[in-house]
């Protein structure tokens, strides 16, 4: 008993010593979130103007406010409010954090003023509505809502309201994901990524990447498999995924992972099967050549002994 007491005492002392004093003394005053390294570096280089969206409480009353609120509801609970157009269990707000408001998490206010825009993805000038249709087709693995549907109009209303006062046609600081100049020190590696995933991601997203659900609803979204985004989504590109992860994951601890860890685990995530690219018509190599001809996509390549896209999740 005496030795147990000593052992416990030693353990407590050791724990006390190894615990950084700063954390205890800093406890009394609330701490601001640490700015993520990538984000601030990218922003200062570009000197892109900053923008802060209006508070949610500023959504006006009346029919326009109703449409804006409906847009927000669709954005945060997509399969409930736009069930006809959604083919998985994700919500827009899984990747566009804080209901599309958060800088460096592809905020709506960073996108609204940049449309119409020519997109090499489909080779023509896209309206904002068509861009939203792409989200439904690929990221939501569903069907594009018609441009004049209440779903698209509500989402446009929400994005427009959130962007009030932002300059038009100007790339704002915090728009998109902070991928400019964000390169892996070494080429991303599947095995290293698996280790990062087990250590820092599986807690929430599950050992098999399927997320965690309560009463049939996602608490944490699936990262691959039948209920995740499909092979045509932006997040299957390594640079998008790495920048999102670095800036935002794990929730509340954005910037925690090293650049290398973020790239490695992005590759690990994107080297798993997911629903087929809807532009696929029977020829994987041809689909890769036409739509995935970039080292940022693993689609149609062999990783860890598996040809990705050959057995898409259903």
């Amino acid at each position: 008993m005496k030795s147990l007491t000593m052992a416990l005492l030693c353990a407590c002392l050791l724990a006390a010593c190894s615990h950084p004093a700063a954390e205890v003394s800093g406890a009394a005053k609330p701490e601001r979130a640490p700015a993520t390294g990538v984000a601030s570096a990218a922003a200062s280089k570009e000197t892109a103007p900053a923008f802060a969206p209006p508070a949610e409480s500023d959504i006006p009353a009346g029919p326009l406010g109703d449409a804006i609120r409906r847009g927000r509801a669709i954005f945060t609970d997509t399969s409930k409010y736009a069930p006809d157009y959604v083919g998985n269990t994700l919500n827009c707000s899984n990747c566009h954090l804080d209901a599309g408001r958060l800088a460096n998490a592809a905020p709506l206010w960073g996108a609204w003023g940049m449309y119409p825009q020519y997109r090499s993805k489909n080779g023509h000038v896209n309206s904002f509505g068509e861009r939203l249709q792409g989200c439904f087709r690929y990221s939501m693995n569903g069907k594009p809502p018609p441009l004049d549907s209440d779903v698209i109009v509500a989402l446009e209303s929400y994005a427009w309201w959130m962007s009030k006062g932002a300059p038009s046609g100007v790339k704002l600081a915090g728009a998109g994901y902070p991928k400019q100049g964000f390169k892996p020190p070494q080429p991303p590696d599947y095995a290293r990524g698996a280790a990062v995933y087990a250590k820092d991601c599986a807690l929430c997203h599950g050992a098999d990447g399927q997320g965690q659900q309560v009463a049939g609803r996602n608490v944490f979204p699936p990262l691959w498999g039948a209920q995740s985004f499909n092979w045509g989504a932006g997040m299957q590109q390594l640079d998008n995924a790495a920048a999102f992860i670095k800036a935002n994951m794990p929730l509340s601890r954005g910037g925690m992972l090293s650049d290398q860890d973020a790239w490695d685990v992005a590759m690990y995530m994107d080297a798993h099967e997911r629903p087929q690219d809807p532009r696929y018509h029977g020829d994987l190599a041809a689909t890769r050549a036409k739509y995935h001809d970039t080292p940022m996509s693993l689609y149609g390549t062999t990783v860890n002994g598996h040809l990705l896209g050959s057995e898409p999740a259903r």
Partner: protein, 213 residues
Amino acid sequence: MLRILALLALLAPLAARATDAATITRQGNGKGAAPCMACHGVDGGGMAINGYPRLAGLDAAYIRRQLDDFANGTRSNPVMQPNASALDANERAALAKYYSALPVPARFAKPPVAKPDASGERLAVRGDWSRGLPACVQCHAPGGVGVGPNFPPLAGQSAAYIASQLRAWQHGTRRNDPLQLMQHVAQRLTPQEVEAVAGWFAAQPLPAREGEP
């Protein structure tokens, strides 16, 4: 016959001691662990007013890890540290299983109405991303009903208990959270916000059986 009965009466507590979690909750384990029910209630519902948490219906792996962490000091508590240390590994496992199998007492389906506090609700369901604070329910599940062995339910839990844990994370006396998520989140909360968010969760109903609609 009398001798056999007497022998049985002698043996019964001994046999029960090793494995019978229910007995430990009522009588302690005879080796320094107090009866759990003295603080956590006969039905495992806790004593909200004193900040003693509900254990009934919590995830078994979660309870087990808390007992281990009380003993090893990563969750420091003057009451639970000696009690958990006096339990052996089998007893901790048995108690975790026992409490996780207890039904959530019916009163949790309809908690007493607390004074509505807008800032508590806002933090719980929206967060404050300008300070890097996700909504609490993004990890603790919509309504705070909890998910899996790492994100315990907050709905209906004692406000005094939730607030004391947030302060324990702020002060580093509790540091057994995976990826230090709660230590980081808690440090961004003001004392008023700690009380507000704890009060909001304490007022949320908890379905009688978790995981079912």
